[in-house]
Every structure is written in C-alpha cells, then in structure tokens.
C-alpha cells in the first residue's frame, strides 16, 4: 500500500495599480511589450527599489485569512539565478524571513468532510518578465527563418506576487482542487487578486512523492519525507493539475512496485495535455542553488510596529465566505447547502442580501428566496432584484397557496398541539365580527408549526385564515 505525499505552492499576482518596487503600471495583460518599464523593473545597474505598501498589506491579508501569524521581523532576500526572464540576475523574494508564517485552512470535499491543510508560509516576491519563444517563427516563415530566439517583455517584471506554501498534507488529487478553489475564493473575497488561472494571475505547483504505508523511514508526522520529490510546474488549470498529480502518483507507485526506486529523482516535470503524461523539464540538483541573502537595498519590516497597524489591517478584512455562509444559516435561516452556493462569490452574496431586504418588505422569507434563486439558477448579477421578487410573487414560486394542502397541514398541527389549542380556544372573545379573536401569540405558534412542516413555504396569510376558520368558529 502506497500513500501520496503532496505539498502545494500557489503563486498569486496582486492587483495593485503599480508594481512591487517601482511606479510602473502593473496592468500588463494584453499591453504592448516593454511599455511598462523603468530602470528598476528592467534591472538596470544602480536602480533602487521602493516597496509598495498596498502590496505588503495584500500579502498580510492573505496570511491572516489563512490563519497565519504575521512575522515579528521580515525582510526581502535575493534569490540568485540566471535566466532571461530575470534581468537583475536575482529575484527579490523572501526565504528565511517571510511576512506570514504557520497557518492553516480547512477544505471540504463534496460530501462535506473537512480536512485541515497546514500553511507553512505566505511571502511576498515579484513576478518575472514574460518570455515568448521562437518569436515570429510562424509556419509560413519557417523556411526563411528557423533560428531559435526568445523574446522578452518586461511589462510583467516586478508585478507583486505572493507565494503560499503548504505543508505536505494532501493525500489525494481532489483535495488539491478543493484547496486551490478555496484559495481562489479567498483572493477574490479579499479583493487582492482576480486569481484568473488562464491569465496566469494564479499558478499552481505541486510537490509529489509517494510513501509506503508502514514504512517508518518516511513518515510525514515525524517530518521524515520520501528522499525525492517531483515538482509539477507550469500547469495553468485546476483540471490539468489534478490530472498531472494523478498520473504522477500512478507512475511513482508503479516504479516503486517494480523495485525501480532509483528512477525516482528530484526533478521538475510538466504536463502534456495531448499525451496525458508528465515529462521531465529539468532535473533539479544543479538548477537549485539560489544562494539567498538579505537584500541590502530594502529596509526591514517590523510587522507588529505602529507604522504597520496590523490591527487596522485585521479590522479592514472583509467577512470571509465561510463566515458569511454561517451567518446566512444563523440569521436568515438558510439551508447550509444554499448558503454555500450563495456565498461562492462576494458579489452574489451582496446581491442576495439586497434581495433579502426587498423580500422582507414584501413578506417573502429569505429561505424561500434562497430556494428560488438556487433551484431556478437565477442570474443574480444580471437580473433586477425587484423583478426577481415580482416573479416570485406572481408565480408564487415555491410558496404553497393550495388551500386544500394547507388545510391538511393545519389540521395536523392542531392535532399535535392539543394543550395549546385548548388554551387558545379559551382565549377567544367575541369581536363583534363573525369571527372571534383569540390570543395572537398562541396563534403565531401554530402558524410557526405549519411553517416548519412546509419548510417555510406556506403562504402565511392563508395559513392564518385557515387556522382561524378551524379554531375560532
């Protein structure tokens, strides 16, 4: 029996107006190449970086949402390597002194089962330039120009990037999807990133190995991990990442079972969607010697200091999706499944709350609204809330106004509440009208009983009439 050991690294680009260390616009997508650059993000000699405050706040917010502790002391470091996407010869990143450390987040699978993923760190760094391979080497030109060249666009260079690293807590591929989706939701709720995978706002890397169950040499709990780790990189969709991880688990187990352990190496692999396999991109040993050292051109952070006002950042945090869902259940009486759907996106949740307000004025229960919106898949973003309310009213969607049906339920409730009914009958006094008036509180309890039996869908006015007819005569 083998068990996968998987850790995840998520990179997310922050949606600040300007770049991490200079005033150039960070909005690079679809822009003309090399139009958002300056000496800092081109890595020209002597240029000095200047830290973007809002980016740091965004990084801290992400850390807080993931239950991390803001570090007492944090600083930037240089990660040294040579590649054309990095003109300085180093990426300004964080290694030993990240902004946020040691957090956790609970993910849920489809059956609602919870799993806690530990977060090792959330740190701030900068994005690299974008490379275009074999530029201009289109098929028609191939004969005249088959020289291999790479074009570099520095518009993306220096865009704020946050990296979130988990402990190796994932044991199957579906958890990766649940986790990535949850992070995407958090980024959007916090408003720190659009987190669009296809645009490259959000990128996933998985470290995958497998261990034999009962093999105490490799045990996650004691920190003894398998002696190799395959890094899956450059995969731009949740679906492909899940497929790549599944393939990789299978490949590794097969090698172990065949006694070919020595073929399991520290290496970086990519995903070939056509062939549905992972392939080696580079072997890691020689590539990974980054010689990190503290960046002398940038000052240190004291995150708990007065300048930072971490408490203000905490206060400025929005209500997160799981908190909102819980409130919808507690305060509005929604089903948890409806509450989760309605809080998937913050815009939807906001519109729904507006809808609840309008609904209240027209005596439509939040629960009825939620049912209607979820079941009918109402497009909240593009439909006027008043129109939705009118639709519900006119169609009486979800509301039971069938007198025969309600009469039956009313009789059941009366039978089940013999004592209360007796008290109610004794409270009846002639009102001058045909129908006598009884104690309204007691009547409301009975109406409540009917509501419970119909999951809040009964037409309350009609129920009142029926009960009065049955009891007040």
């Amino acid at each position: 029996m083998y068990k996968p050991v998987i850790g995840l690294e998520v990179h997310v680009e922050l949606n600040t107006k300007s770049k991490m260390f200079c005033n150039c616009s960070a909005d690079y997508f679809g822009k003309k190449p090399n139009t958002h650059t300056c000496p800092v993000c081109l890595g020209l000699p002597g240029a000095l970086p200047f830290i973007n405050k809002q980016a740091i706040e965004g990084c801290l917010k992400i850390g807080l949402a993931l239950n991390c502790t803001p570090a007492e002391e944090s600083l930037f470091e240089r990660k040294n390597y040579f590649y054309p996407d990095l003109a300085k010869g180093f990426q300004t990143s964080q290694y030993r002194w990240p902004l946020s450390v040691k957090g956790w987040i609970d993910i849920e699978d489809k059956s609602g089962e919870k799993k806690r993923i530990r977060i090792n760190r959330a740190h701030q760094e900068e994005d690299t330039a974008k490379l275009m391979h074999q530029l201009g080497n289109s098929k028609t030109q191939e004969t005249s120009n088959n020289e291999n060249i790479t074009g570099i666009d520095f518009n993306r260079s220096g865009v704020p990037l946050v990296e979130i690293v988990t402990e190796p807590d994932f044991t199957d591929s579906s958890q990766i999807r649940d986790y990535a989706k949850k992070l995407q939701q958090i980024f959007r709720y916090l408003g720190v990133s659009n987190a669009d995978m296809e645009r490259g706002d959000m990128r996933l890397e998985a470290n995958v190995s497998v261990r034999e169950v009962g093999n105490e040499k490799w045990d996650v709990r004691t920190g003894k991990l398998p002696p190799y780790r395959v890094e899956l990189k450059n995969i731009n969709s949740f679906r492909f990442m899940v497929a790549a991880v599944e393939y990789e688990i299978k490949r590794q187990i097969e090698l172990l079972e065949a006694g070919r352990d020595d073929e399991l190496r520290q290496e970086t692999r990519g995903w070939d969607e056509n062939k549905k396999i992972t392939y080696v991109q580079r072997s890691k040993e020689e590539a990974h010697d980054y010689r990190y050292f503290p960046e002398p051109d940038l000052p240190e952070f004291r995150v708990q200091s007065s300048e930072f006002r971490i408490d203000d950042i905490k206060k400025g945090m929005p209500e997160l999706p799981w908190m909102k869902a819980e409130r919808f259940v507690k305060e509005l009486g929604l089903k948890i499944s409806d509450a989760k759907i309605l809080t998937e996106e913050t815009e939807l949740a906001d519109i729904f709350e507006k809808l609840v307000k309008i609904g209240r004025e027209k005596e439509i229960e939040p629960k009825v609204l939620a049912n209607y919106v979820v079941n009918q898949k109402i497009d909240l973003l593009n439909k006027d809330p008043n129109q939705i309310i009118d639709d519900i009213k006119s169609k009486s969607v979800g509301i039971i106004s069938d007198e025969e049906e309600l009469d039956k339920v009313c009789r059941e409730v009366i039978d089940e509440n013999g004592g209360l009914v007796q008290f109610y009958k004794r409270s009846l006094i002639p009102s001058g009208d045909e129908i006598k008036k009884g104690n309204p509180n007691m009547l409301n309890v009975l109406i409540g009983g009917v509501m419970r039996k119909t999951q809040g869908k009964a037409n309350a006015g009609l129920v009142r009439k029926i009960l009065e007819k049955l009891l007040n005569g």
Binding site: T16, K17, S18, C22, N23, C24, S25, K32, P33, N34, T35, H36, T37, C38, L42, F50, I51, N52, K53, Q54, A55, I56, L75, N80, Y81, F82, Y83, P84, D85, G89, L131, M132, H133, Q134, L135, G136, N148, I149, T150, G151, I152, D153, F154, N234, G270, Q281, R282, E286, D289, R291, P294, P296, L298, P299, E300, F301, R302, S305, E307, F308
Partner: protein
Amino acid sequence: MKLTKDQVKKVAKLANLPLSEAEEEESAEQLSKILDYIDQLEKVDTRGVEPTYNVTGNENVMREDEIGESLSAEDALKNASKTKDGFFVTKGVFESE
C-alpha cells in the same frame, strides 16, 4: 583556503560565466586569496553582537500604490543588442515558461 577547480567551475556556472581552462586556474587562485582576506573577519569577537542585514537602520519604509511615468518602449529597448517587434531578443531558451 584553497578553492578546488570543481568549486570554481560550479561558481562560474552559477554566475553564468564561460571560463577557459586558464581562466579557471587564475580564478581559483584569485578567489582563494579573496576568501583568505575575508577570513580575517573570523578573528573578530562577535559574541553578543546581533546580526545586521541592513546598515541604514530604516524600518517599514514604503510608498503608496501609485502609478508614475514609465520609459517609452523605444527608450527601454535602446541599449539592447537585439530586438524584434518591441521585444528584447535573446538566444532561444527551450524550457517552457
């Protein structure tokens, strides 16, 4: 401390510097001398001294997130040895991005 030739080769590779055999010999000697020089610091008694990463003493210095002026593409590309369609151009690298 004497650097071995293998160590020099590794450092050269990490620094992306192509060295001839003669240059490797020469660098080994020079780098060893530099290390010996730096090693003098070992003699300083640093017990009780906190490590310093930054000598300015500044902390939490940041700027507001505002867009300023960028270079024109023309200026940005001015010193490049090779350009095409507004891109800097380098020898092809095949690792997918």
